[in-house]
């Protein structure tokens, strides 16, 4: 260290007010940041890729291969063949049906079921929740409706509806959505109520912003993370519900190939032909787990507080 002090080092720095204002930020985009934050989690990205691949394959394979998942073998020798042995990569089931084709057809049905339920639940829930939160007049009614509906054990609704209607794709959709949308609506309502009286909303009203745009610009963007998370989590939930309904004998018709049906059929023969349960279960778990994690990670990423 030198004793000599270099005066040049102590030259006063120029102050530029504009530069000070500018701060250290780059031009910012919400979605890009969300995306970047999401991409930071290697697990999430891996699972997103896996999920996309699974979904893509589940929809592409049945459409492209033309394999009939219900094509039974009249030759009993072809029943219950283990994987390999000229029986497709996943083997055949008790009727000689190709487990590979069945698994992917099943995945497609279950995903479709999940998507439709997610669409209805979240769509209806968002709209109803936004209205519920905004219109004070219906709050009492909606709250009582919510109390009543959530107080009816969900199995009662599921079973009664499966009974009154015929078990089938849309029955399950109706049964699951009949209560699902309300809990999302309730959640949205609570959010909307806190947002409703926030100052920036009053500011918008003072600026003469019409209610439609207030909901669209001031309320809904705050619910994006909720929407995405709920939608993503509805997939594992609805698949689980389908498995449960199958367990109590009110699932999709058994000639409909779905993961729930495959699991319940495979379960019966688990001791004997474990692969008949293992394959559909693995695919099912891969789907539900990836949707679950991706949904959660995306919800985290879509929160701007996590962006920096």
């Amino acid at each position: 260290m030198s004793d000599r002090i270099e005066p040049a080092l102590f030259a006063p720095a120029a102050f530029d007010a504009a530069a000070a204002e500018r701060g250290g930020y780059e031009s910012y985009s919400y979605w890009r940041s969300t995306f970047r934050t999401f991409m930071k989690s290697r697990l999430a990205v891996t699972l997103l890729l896996a999920m996309t691949a699974l979904v893509a394959f589940s929809f592409a394979y049945p459409a492209l291969s033309g394999a009939d998942p219900n094509a039974v073998a009249l030759d009993t020798e072809r029943w219950n063949l283990r994987p390999g042995s000229g029986s497709g990569p996943f083997g055949t089931d008790g009727l000689g049906r190709d487990m590979w084709a069945r698994t992917w057809h099943g995945a497609r049905t279950s995903l479709l079921l999940g998507f439709v339920i997610a669409l209805f639940d979240v769509g209806l829930g968002m709209i109803a929740g936004a209205i519920w939160g905004y219109a004070r007049r219906i709050d009492r009614f909606m709250t009582e409706l919510y109390n009543v509906v959530t107080n009816i054990p969900q199995t009662v609704v599921l079973i009664l509806l499966s009974y009154i209607l015929r078990p089938g794709f849309w029955t399950i959709v109706i049964a699951l959505c009949s209560t699902g949308w309300l809990s999302i609506a309730r959640f949205v309502r609570n959010k909307v109520i806190t947002i409703r009286d926030a100052e920036y909303n009053i500011a918008s009203r003072c600026l003469g912003t019409p209610p439609g745009r207030i909901i669209g610009r001031n309320v809904l963007p705050y619910l994006v993370s909720v929407i995405i998370m709920e939608a993503a989590l509805t997939i594992p939930y609805s698949i689980g519900a389908e498995v449960f309904l199958g367990f109590i004998g009110l699932g999709l018709p058994l000639d409909t190939v779905s993961l729930g049906n495959l699991v319940n059929l495979g379960k019966a023969n688990f001791m004997l032909y474990p692969y008949q349960l293992a394959w559909p279960t693995s695919i099912l778990a891969a789907i539900t787990v990836s949707f679950y994690i991706v949904g959660n990670k995306f919800a985290d990423a879509s929160d701007p507080r996590n962006h920096v």
Partner: protein, 313 residues
């Protein structure tokens, strides 16, 4: 005062809730605001001052009285066209710069939100120009337009709020405690900005605050509100020099003095409504001195003006 008032409140009341739970937040407030004037409305939190501001902005409905702007009634049901005009002419600045900006919208959208609502521009270029001008006016860089609120400091955000109001080219700004949420160091910035705008644009302000010390230097007149009622209204210096109502005195006694000796001797005066000898009689709103109004019974006012039984200050 001979000119026509810009804004006049005529005995307005605002009630929250209904039935037994009804709560009257503002109770029979009357005041007039002149063109180019800064009128401050001061009171502690819960006194109804913010409610008055919001009632003017038509965010809250009146339960009694009326509000006129340039002589036209602007409270209650009014034609859509009138409402439209009003939205441009009267704007508001909010107390909390953190809460008053939509976190999920870019500054560009926030500042031009009002412009877009009324299509106050011919084309996109014109809109951008207006946004940039408003931002420059409050000392923000135009390139900030593409950023989000959370990237800004409190002072910057408050300036964004002001720019949003300015973009509408209003005549009257209702400033609802615009600086109380800010650091002391930044307060001066914002106050100076408001003063500059008043000078440059001939703006009028209804300035809402809970602290008399803040408003002394920007106000032409000051109104003191207590529990939804006005208790005193006077030109700024007059009020400081000669407060009449005990509540005003109590408020003034709480203002710190920048002189250490005086500060040491400063006594805080407590106020309680029970100080008033109101039995069956009600206080009235009366002009005690020219331009100096106060709420009280004639006897009280007599006393406050220095008659018998003066309360020593």
């Amino acid at each position: 005062m001979n000119a026509e008032p810009l804004l006049s409140l005529e005995g307005i009341s605002v009630t929250f809730g209904s039935g037994r739970k009804a709560f009257r937040a503002v109770d029979g407030v009357s005041l007039e605001l002149m063109q180019g004037e800064t009128l401050s409305l001061v009171g502690e939190s819960g006194s109804g001052k913010t409610t008055v501001g919001r009632a003017v902005m038509r965010v809250l409905p009146l339960s009694a009285g009326s509000i006129r702007y340039r002589g036209e009634r602007i409270s209650g049901r009014i034609p859509a066209a009138a409402e439209r005009g009003l939205r441009q002419k009267i704007q508001m600045i909010f107390q909390d710069p953190m809460a008053s900006l939509n976190e999920r919208a870019k500054i560009d959208y926030i500042v031009s939100e009002g412009l877009a609502n009324f299509r106050l521009y011919g084309n996109e270029a014109e809109r951008r120009a207006k946004v940039e001008r408003a931002m420059e006016e409050v000392g923000l860089l135009p390139e900030f337009a593409s950023r989000f609120p959370h990237e800004f400091s409190g002072g910057q955000r408050q300036r964004i709020g002001i720019a949003r109001a300015l973009a509408m080219e209003p005549e009257l700004l209702i400033a609802d405690e615009p600086i109380s949420a800010l650091d002391v160091s930044i307060r001066a910035q914002v106050i100076n900005l408001l003063n500059k705008l008043k000078k440059d644009r001939g703006l009028s302000y209804l300035f809402i605050a809970h602290d008399l010390s803040v408003v002394r230097f920007i106000s032409d007149r000051i109104a003191v509100i207590y529990r939804g009622r006005l208790v005193e209204l006077a030109p700024a210096e007059e009020l400081f020099a000669r407060p009449l109502h005990p509540y005003t005195k109590a408020l003034l006694s709480a203002v710190p003095v920048p002189d250490p000796d005086a500060e040491r001797d400063r006594k805080i005066v407590a106020y309680s409504p029970s100080m008033h000898p109101y039995g069956d009689s009600h206080p009235t709103w009366a002009q005690a001195l020219p331009g100096h109004f106060v709420s009280g019974t004639p006897e009280e006012i007599e006393t406050w003006l220095g008659g018998p039984g003066t309360v020593p200050t």
